[in-house]
């Protein structure tokens, strides 16, 4: 939940979030080894509470119904003592997690549906802001309503990640869990025990691999030293991993040193090859948030919980092609209407219906109100329970 929300909006969201958890508490499934996990919450006042533990899912559910947090998190790590300070928890391993978010995929359409919102006076602009034009506050939030193109790009990137993990890392389909974050991204969790004990540095190497960072011409048998360019096809060949991707993309000959030598000369020698390699590695590399993967003490949004930044639920995607985040993860009904005031003209789809709202008071279903108020793009105008 983003900081400082007005009391009327807050009361509305708390009521609706409570209703969601009352009806859908079963959506919260216990994580593996729940008693070894740290739990954290964010309140509607923007406070973060960490270092909690719940031995059983029943205890967690009771806490949530009673306290109605805006966000619920669970550690990717397993600890001997999850409630102790971070250095005393006794780390026992952590799930390997990847985060694909719109922030890391730069799409031209994003400007059209990204908003910079003043958290002081609710002024909204489509242009990048560091200072509010109305009240000169520097507390500016950035929010995006993903369009179809954005969602398709996220899905494509997620599918590329799954392909890498299956082909290169040998992870079987049943050991990969894909979920929609409830806002602008997808999370992929590797449920395979041999990755649990990896430290931050090893995870950083994995994420570097997936993003195509530090790919060296040497690994493709192209070296350069005092004697000039030296070409030797590697003993391990070109038929898998990054080498295969590069060879296919550059249409490199892989038969012999002679062929490879001619190819390198043709494209202008070592440096030209390296430049081309860097370009292709960036193009084929995945756009991930490396911090998420390398942090082995992170608390992570829990599946089945609502995302305080959108009011949508974090949900497992069993069929990513068919998955529609703006429908499948919205659990609020369209059976009640409320009045909201919009701060900027908006176009979006939710629960299968297209909305075009102008800058005025609109009557919308509860699902739309929760979504826009959570995004800080609307304020409640008139509502009674």
């Amino acid at each position: 939940m983003q900081k400082e929300i007005n009391s009327k909006n807050k009361e509305f969201l708390i009521r609706l979030f409570k209703e969601y958890y009352f009806k859908n508490i079963g959506n919260l499934s216990p994580p593996v080894q729940m008693h070894n996990r740290e739990f954290g919450f964010m309140t509607f006042d923007g406070k973060v509470i960490r270092h909690l533990a719940f031995p059983k899912i029943g205890n967690l559910k009771a806490f949530i119904i009673q306290n109605v947090p805006s966000d619920i998190f669970c550690s990717n790590a397993y600890y001997q003592f999850p409630t102790f300070p971070i250095n005393e928890k006794c780390w026992k391993g952590a799930d390997l997690i990847f985060d694909i978010d719109l922030n890391d995929i730069l799409l031209p359409c994003q400007k059209e549906h990204t908003f910079f919102i003043c958290s002081n006076c609710s002024f909204v602009s489509n242009d990048f802001l560091t200072l509010c034009h109305e009240c000169h506050s520097t507390r500016i939030l950035k929010n995006t309503i993903p369009c179809f193109k954005c969602i398709n790009s996220l899905k494509k990137e997620t599918k590329n990640l799954l392909e890498f993990l299956k082909k290169d890392f040998g992870i079987q389909e049943q050991n990969l869990e894909v979920s929609f974050s409830g806002n602008t991204g997808f999370h992929v969790v590797v449920l395979q025990s041999n990755y649990l004990l990896l430290d931050s540095k090893s995870r950083s190497d994995i994420v570097g691999y997936l993003m195509g960072k530090n790919l060296s011409p040497d690994s493709l048998g192209v070296r350069n030293d005092k004697r000039g360019d030296r070409i030797k096809v590697p003993l391990s060949g070109f038929s898998y991993g990054w080498r295969k991707r590069i060879v296919e993309k550059m249409k490199m000959p892989e038969v012999s040193n002679d062929h490879l030598n001619k190819f390198i000369k043709k494209i202008g020698g070592y440096q030209s090859f390296k430049n081309e390699l860097d370009k292709i590695a960036y193009e084929l590399g995945l756009k991930l948030d490396p911090q998420v993967t390398t942090d082995i003490h992170r608390i992570f949004r829990m599946i089945g919980s609502l995302n305080g930044k959108s009011g949508l639920s974090k949900i497992v995607c069993y069929d990513i092609d068919k998955f529609d985040p703006m429908n499948d993860s919205c659990f609020f009904e369209n059976d009640r209407n409320v009045d909201i005031s919009i701060n900027t003209p908006l176009k979006f789809n939710i629960k299968g219906k297209k909305y075009t709202l102008d800058k005025s008071i609109s009557t919308v279903p509860v699902s739309v109100a929760v979504f826009l108020i959570s995004k800080r793009l609307a304020n409640l105008a008139n509502y009674s329970s």
Binding site: K167, D168, F169, I171, L198, S200, Y209, L215, S216, W242
Partner: protein
């Protein structure tokens, strides 16, 4: 396994269980080392230890297996008797490099696949619980699973060890013999170090005592860094502590320490001296590297102290409350 390792293999890998069995079955008694016919063994062990501790070199001479097994045993007893941690570390490192040399050569030259597989099993699986296999479908390269590879390869900073520069397929990393052995260097070192540390000998034979005492007299005492420790940020303090104990600092820690000292106004000579306790210290190499960092060699670029964020990623950060507000170790202790 239906075949056994040959005696020549035991000569090269005298820490294997089979070597211990051979010595036990020969009904040999430690007191036998006081007999004149064992003097050449003791002299050979003395040479081996001096090579490591005084000359900083790897002893590559290889004799018949029985001579090798006893020489190895005497060398270990000598090190136990010398009982200086920095010396034990230095000896273990040089012995690890000796093993590395033999192992690379054996994995490259051995044509009998069964024998080669047995060697891999004995060294990698039995000693280090690391599953390494030869893959006949891929030019008989060595394969290990990605997580086993990462746990070892991330200690190296060179870009060639990054996973992206490796042949990776279906959960495995494919390596040649040199690379596979290089990955376990520090494990061989620890195995030898622990072997000496955990030795329990009630009565060291007089002949061994005599030669070990002579070696001990020739050793330069390790330098103690007397400067008041609180002057340094905790990351630097930790690196100095480890150097004091003659630990083998990773490249990234050496880089941090040298750039920090140079930036704090220390001369190249003073920084070179700092590394004198490193188990693999070689003044010529160290001087070249420190001069390079100081911008006096190569590209003439003076290297900066790595930022705290980089040190966190390299597991070199030991931040305390006094580090609050700094982004580089060089800022430590200055008014913020």
């Amino acid at each position: 396994m239906s075949i056994i390792l040959g005696k020549d293999d035991l000569a090269k890998y005298p820490f294997l269980e089979e070597a211990g069995t051979y010595i036990r079955e020969s009904h040999f008694d430690l007191d036998d080392f006081n007999r004149p016919e064992f003097l050449h063994i003791i002299q050979r062990a003395t040479k081996r230890v001096e090579f490591a501790l005084i000359e900083g070199k790897v002893f590559i001479d290889l004799e018949k297996y029985d001579i090798e097994l006893f020489t190895f045993l005497v060398s270990l007893i000598m090190m136990k008797y010398i009982d200086e941690d920095s010396a034990i570390k230095k000896f273990s490192l040089m012995e690890a490099r000796r093993v590395e040399r033999f192992l690379i050569s054996d994995l490259l030259k051995e044509k009998d696949l069964r024998k080669k597989n047995l060697l891999i099993f004995k060294i990698f699986r039995e000693l280090f619980q690391l599953d390494v296999e030869l893959d006949p479908k891929k030019n008989n390269l060595f394969k290990m699973n990605i997580s086993d590879y990462l746990q070892r390869a991330t200690q190296f900073n060179e870009v060639e060890w990054k996973l992206i520069n490796r042949a990776v397929d279906n959960g495995y990393v494919y390596l040649d013999g040199d690379e596979t052995v290089r990955l376990i260097r520090s494990e061989i070192y620890k195995l030898l170090y622990n072997k000496i540390k955990n030795m329990n000998i009630t009565q060291v034979p007089e002949q061994i005592k005599f030669h070990a005492t002579l070696i001990k007299k020739k050793l330069t005492p390790p330098i103690k860094y007397l400067r008041h420790k609180t002057d340094f940020p905790p990351c630097i303090k930790k690196a100095l502590e480890l150097l004091n104990k003659s630990e083998n600092l990773p490249h990234s820690a050496r880089f941090m320490l040298a750039t920090y000292m140079l930036s704090s106004g220390k001369s190249v000579d003073e920084v070179v001296l700092l590394f004198q306790n490193a188990p693999d210290f070689n003044e010529k190499i160290t001087r070249y590297q420190v001069e390079h960092l100081a911008g006096k060699k190569g590209s003439q670029t003076r290297y900066s102290v790595p930022a705290c964020s980089k040190l966190v990623n390299e597991n070199l950060c030991y931040a305390t409350i006094d580090c609050k507000g700094i982004t580089n170790p060089i800022q430590f202790g200055r008014k913020m």
